[in-house]
């Protein structure tokens, strides 16, 4: 079980998220929904230890995670940031290898596994990551995060700026990972169709807090909620 308890954090003295609590079971896919600026990205950054923490804690199987971002990654948190942030002057292979090395894993095996799981990257294995298309970079960012062998994978707007065929491919990849039932996944998204195809449950954020927790069926059936909170 992955838990966030009473998370309060922000930038400098500004609090962006307040008293956020949520949990994700092993093998579960949970969506984090809400309009722009409600704090989805900030919450994911809080979980990764990338912003100032004013209170709360993040724990995995009941054990609190260390404060350092790098240590959290080594403890089992994988993160695909909004905007991909691949290392542009590293090749595709090197991007994956860097993640494996960072978490003390074998780089050769990690690269072989990633290229087997993401065939779209095979032809570009020795290309600089900065030369890839946005969609290819997104897939590389997911492959890189998975190379750390995470127990919890967090994806921030994975479908943003990506062509529909690649979005479908990403959904397929995440679906396959979901079927393995060993990885918990949190997806922060505004693309509702993408989320509903993967997540069983969603936390809806508003004003830096969790406004509601809903199942997929409740969300699909609640047009007012869809309209009010998501603007769709």
């Amino acid at each position: 079980m992955f838990e966030i308890t009473d998370a309060t954090g922000g930038y400098g003295k500004t609090r962006i998220i307040r008293s956020v609590s949520m949990s994700v079971k092993t093998g579960e896919v949970v969506a984090l929904l809400g309009r722009n600026g409600v704090g989805k990205t900030t919450l994911l950054k809080y979980i990764m230890g990338l912003i100032d923490v004013f209170g709360g804690q993040v724990s995995l199987d009941g054990a609190p995670l260390p404060a350092s971002t790098a240590r959290r990654a080594r403890a089992g948190l994988g993160y695909v940031p909004q905007g991909r942030y691949v290392f542009p002057r590293l090749t595709v292979t090197e991007n994956i290898a860097a993640a494996a090395i960072g978490c003390g894993l074998g780089r050769k095996e990690a690269v072989e596994r990633a290229l087997a799981n993401f065939p779209i990257l095979r032809d570009k294995a020795e290309a600089l990551a900065g030369s890839l298309s946005g969609g290819q970079q997104q897939i590389l960012a997911i492959a890189r995060a998975l190379a750390t062998r995470p127990r919890v994978l967090m994806l921030d707007e994975p479908s943003e700026g990506v062509q529909p065929s690649i979005v479908d491919e990403i959904a397929g990849i995440l679906m396959a990972m979901k079927d393995e039932a060993t990885l918990s996944i949190i997806i922060a998204e505004q693309n509702l169709d993408f989320c509903l195809s993967l997540a069983e449950r969603a936390y809806v954020m508003a004003g830096g807090t969790i406004a509601r927790e809903v199942t997929r069926d409740e969300l699909i059936g609640d047009r007012e909620l869809l309209h009010d909170l998501l603007g769709v």
Binding site: L50, T69, A70, A73, F87, R89, T148
Partner: protein, 288 residues
């Protein structure tokens, strides 16, 4: 123009370019790759030269003294990074002032300890005859040193786990942290690597350029200009920019005067930066 003269000028120019590259690669790592303006780079070269000089004067064979100088300067660089540089990442002006202050301390310390003139290492000098002209064998050997050094450095930074992680951490420390990379340790190691290369330069150049407190100053300005002209693809850019600028300046000096050689060096740098404001490698699709 006679063929032997032309061959001598070409080899001499290549040798000068190699000397510049040997003195520059450390800065290419620290300034080009890490973005740290280390104004004490010249004094790190001087530091390595004095370590090698001290070692040889105490009976250490010269090749071992070069290794020792590289390691000691690398350790000194690691201490400097931990004590000074790491507190100033992202603060360019503060880094510039701090490393300038460090350069003054190192320079004055060398003057106080060793004086302004120091005897050389006393290695036997040999020359190679090319027709009517002669060239120092050691200066030609430095061409080989430069080639091997750059080859090794390229291998280290592109083929080893450290190199891949270092380039990732330097390109984007925050993202690197999200995949488990401790940027702090990597930065210390990389600054130490750059410092060690400066120490290596001071030591390996010692038979041709005797150790003096101000010896680093002779290299550091041209080294900075070569790295700036190189642009974002640090190592390949530095090889091309440093090699071209060093060769052009040396050839000019051969035909005219040393001063004219320096003038041409600076004019060529200005011209390169007018044509390529971000450096010659701004559009290169290379990793390093």
């Amino acid at each position: 123009m006679e063929l032997d003269y032309l061959a001598t000028v070409l080899l001499s120019s290549l040798s000068s370019a190699s000397v510049l590259l040997i003195a520059t690669v450390g800065l290419a790592i620290v300034f080009g790759l890490m973005g740290v303006i280390n104004l004490a780079h010249g004094e790190f070269i001087m530091f390595g030269a004095y370590v090698a000089l001290f070692a040889t004067r105490n009976g250490v064979p010269f090749p071992l003294a070069v290794v020792l100088a590289s390691v000691v300067t690398a350790l000194f660089g690691a201490i400097v990074e931990r004590a000074i540089i790491r507190h100033l990442y992202g603060r360019i002006l503060d880094t510039l002032l701090a490393t300038w202050g460090l350069s003054l301390v190192l320079y004055q310390s060398a003057v106080l300890i060793f004086g302004t003139v120091t005897p050389g290492v006393g290695m036997p000098q040999s020359n190679i005859e090319i027709g009517n002209y002669t060239l120092s064998t050691y200066l030609l050997f430095l061409i080989l040193v430069a080639v091997v050094l750059i080859g090794l450095l390229y291998w280290l930074l592109t083929r080893t786990g450290y190199g891949i992680v270092a380039r990732a951490a330097i390109q984007d420390p925050q993202t690197a942290a999200t995949i488990g990379i401790e940027s702090g340790r990597i930065n210390t190691a990389t600054f130490a690597l750059g410092s060690g290369l400066a120490g290596f330069a001071g030591a390996i150049l010692l038979p041709a350029f005797p150790a003096t407190p101000s010896m680093g100053f002779a290299f550091v300005i041209k080294a900075f200009l070569a790295v700036v002209a190189a642009g974002p693809v640090t190592l390949s850019g530095t090889v091309v920019a440093g090699g071209a600028l060093g060769s052009i300046a040396s050839m000019t000096a051969s035909f005219y005067t040393t001063v004219m050689g320096d003038v041409v060096f600076f004019l060529a740098t200005i011209t390169i930066l007018r044509i390529f404001p971000l450096g010659i490698s701004a559009r290169w699709r290379l990793k390093l």
